[in-house]
């Protein structure tokens, strides 16, 4: 079923999606409507146009694909399911997500994966194909964030303050050089085979989603960042 979103405001559009009872929906002509697919447990949405902020917030199992860019807070607090963005997205994708997967073909803005957490059997994953802005994985408490740096000309595809406040989970960066500065509370090392095994399936899915060559992506050094639990935080934001 197709929905032309242009005439709808965000409430009407979400009501339309939820009341359609369809497993597969195409939403065309999106123009900034917020909360699309929020809390959705099943089915799939294919979106064209510009979906608004908090796309797939609290997503609970549905599958969302955006053929273009997305705005801020994609997958805010999502619990399960998958969001694929064929373009780039704004700030705070994966904000506090605790399950499911977000795949972004292009770049992500500031604070990607802020406060991502894992819970029991849940382990959220976010793969960013291009580069990420500053504060990647800020306060990360669990899950995996993977940044591939495809098409990036920077030696390391992240901005400032990567992993600030990180206290759980892992960040994988596909680059030969670490970020210019990392907090003392974060450990960084070149990823070995055991580390890479952990992201093998994520990369496979990412490549399948966007029709990319897996070998080319894996044939490159990765660094892995983990919190250093022996060095707890003190006065993080004082005198900076």
């Amino acid at each position: 079923m197709n929905i032309d979103a242009f005439a709808f405001d965000f409430q009407e559009l979400n009501k339309e999606i939820k009341s359609s009872g369809q497993e597969e929906l195409n939403i065309d002509n999106c123009m900034g409507q917020r909360y699309i697919g929020c809390g959705l447990s099943r089915g799939s949405l294919r979106i064209r146009g510009v979906p608004g902020n908090a796309l797939g917030a609290y997503l609970n199992g549905a599958d969302i694909t955006v053929h273009g860019n997305a705005q801020d807070s994609v997958g805010d607090t999502m619990n399960e399911g998958k969001i694929s963005i064929h373009g780039s997205c704004g700030d705070t994708p994966g904000y506090a997500m605790r399950g499911g997967k977000i795949f972004i073909r292009g770049n992500a803005g500031y604070r990607a994966g802020i406060h991502m957490k894992s819970y029991r059997d849940k382990c959220p994953v976010m793969v960013i194909g291009g580069s990420a802005g500053s504060f990647l994985g800020e306060y990360q408490a669990g899950g995996r964030i993977i940044v591939l740096g495809l098409g990036s000309d920077q030696p390391c595809p992240v901005g400032y303050f990567c992993g600030t406040g990180m206290h759980g989970g892992k960040i994988f960066l596909r680059c030969g050089q670490l970020p210019a500065s990392l907090p003392d509370q974060v450990n960084a090392k070149l990823a070995d085979d055991v580390d890479l095994q952990e992201i093998e399936e994520d990369i496979r899915q990412f490549c399948a989603e966007f029709d990319l060559d897996r070998e080319t992506i894996l044939d490159h050094p990765f660094h892995v960042l983990t919190p250093n639990t022996k060095n707890p935080y003190r006065q993080l934001y004082v005198h900076c």
Binding site: D9, F10, C30, M31, G32, R34, G49, V50, G52, N53, N69, Q71, D72, G90, D91, G109, Y110, G133, S134, F135, G159, Y160, A180, S181, H239, C240
Partner: protein, 366 residues
């Protein structure tokens, strides 16, 4: 009801701007369409627009837009204007009745130039003379409020949703090369006509989304230089800071951005030595003008527009470019709705100004 300046409540907001680098002029309909796409970011308690290049026939005169609560306030203010300025033209600002905009004050426009005798007596330049007069009216004439005072530009604002404010002021009748817009969701103040954005002083206008935590530090400092913050809104103090740094201290736009959104010391340490020296100097010299807390602003000025985020980038800002046109907004949808195809689409980094000037113009507001 308590007005702006009497009460402070702890903002979502929407901002948008359109700028033609070649200086080609277009009417206010596109900016209304852009800002209205972000309708849900505001709550009907304030909307406004600034247009640049809209008064070519009077481009050498300051255009004062004034709200009056009463005819008595108008008479008192006009007496004051008469003593200091040659009034070339005065009229009501044309508006259109709509039930979505109510309780309007009297809204008048004056094209003025300082009286030569008064100006030479004052030993001030005409910008300073005019600035002082605007501040004087806004603080000393009860019921009168100058909300726009630049040359060849004008601010149009009200309590209401921005699309209704644009309709109310008949913005389709004005053509400018640059427009900015604001949809307000006031969180610190109750929402009054004067407190809507843009906030302007002469040709500087600011639209702002955010919540400045350094407000009182900034206010105390800037008031030492004759500015008076009467509204308790963040935007007012930003406008004065911009006027102070650009006009009175002669800083460039980049330097101004490096003062108000100064990089962290840890970031400065990583810069090359010469740059470190400049950044350290600016941060130390103007430490009280560092603006902390989340903000995204568009600064309009004669000849250009600057977008700036706080250094942590706690508010969103995206920019689209197509041929000579530049689009700046809180959300991508507000750009795509008027310009679906773009040559370039990007987000400036926190604290890094994006500056666009008319072709051949310098990156300097003067």
């Amino acid at each position: 009801m308590n007005k702006e300046g009497q009460i402070r409540i702890p903002s979502g907001c929407a901002i948008s701007g359109i700028f033609s680098r070649s200086g080609s002029r277009f009417d206010g309909e596109r900016i209304i369409k852009s800002i209205s796409t972000m309708h849900d970011r505001s709550n009907g308690l304030g909307g406004g627009f600034a247009g640049y290049g809209i008064y070519p026939d009077y481009k050498d005169y300051y255009a004062f837009h004034i709200f009056y609560d009463s005819t008595a306030a108008k008479e008192e203010c006009e007496k004051l204007l008469d003593r200091r300025f040659d009034i070339i033209n005065l009229s009501k600002i044309p508006t259109r009745k709509t039930n979505r905009i109510t309780d309007e004050p009297l809204i008048w426009r004056y094209f003025v130039t300082p009286l030569p005798t008064k100006l030479s007596e004052s030993q001030l330049d005409e910008d300073e003379f005019t600035t002082r007069c605007v501040i004087h009216i806004n603080t000393k004439v009860p019921g009168a409020y100058v909300f726009s005072s630049g040359k060849n530009m004008g601010v149009f604002k009200a309590v209401g949703f921005p699309e209704d404010v644009g309709y109310f002021y008949r913005l389709e009748d004005y053509e400018g090369h640059c427009w900015t817009a604001h949809g307000r969701y006031p969180t610190n103040t109750p929402g009054w006509w004067g407190g809507a954005h843009p906030f302007a002083l002469r040709d500087f206008s600011i639209v702002h989304n955010g919540e400045i935590s350094s407000y009182d530090t900034n206010r105390r400092y800037i008031e030492m230089f004759g500015y008076r913050c009467t509204l308790l809104t963040d935007t007012e103090v930003i406008t004065y800071i911009v006027d102070f740094l650009l006009r009175k201290r002669g800083l460039t736009l980049e330097e101004t951005a490096q003062v108000i959104a100064a990089p962290f010391w840890s970031t400065i340490e990583k810069k090359p030595p010469e740059e470190q020296e400049i950044l350290t100097y600016l941060r130390n010299t103007f430490s009280s003008l560092l603006i902390t807390g989340p903000f995204s602003v568009l600064l309009g000025f004669s000849g250009g527009i600057m977008a700036l985020n706080d250094r942590l980038k706690l508010r969103s800002m995206v920019i689209g470019e197509k041929d000579d046109m530049v689009y700046l907004a809180s959300e991508e949808c507000a750009i795509r709705v008027i310009a679906p195809e773009l040559d370039r689409f990007w987000s400036p980094k926190g604290g890094e100004p994006a500056i666009f000037t008319l072709n051949g113009g310098e990156n300097h507001a003067d």
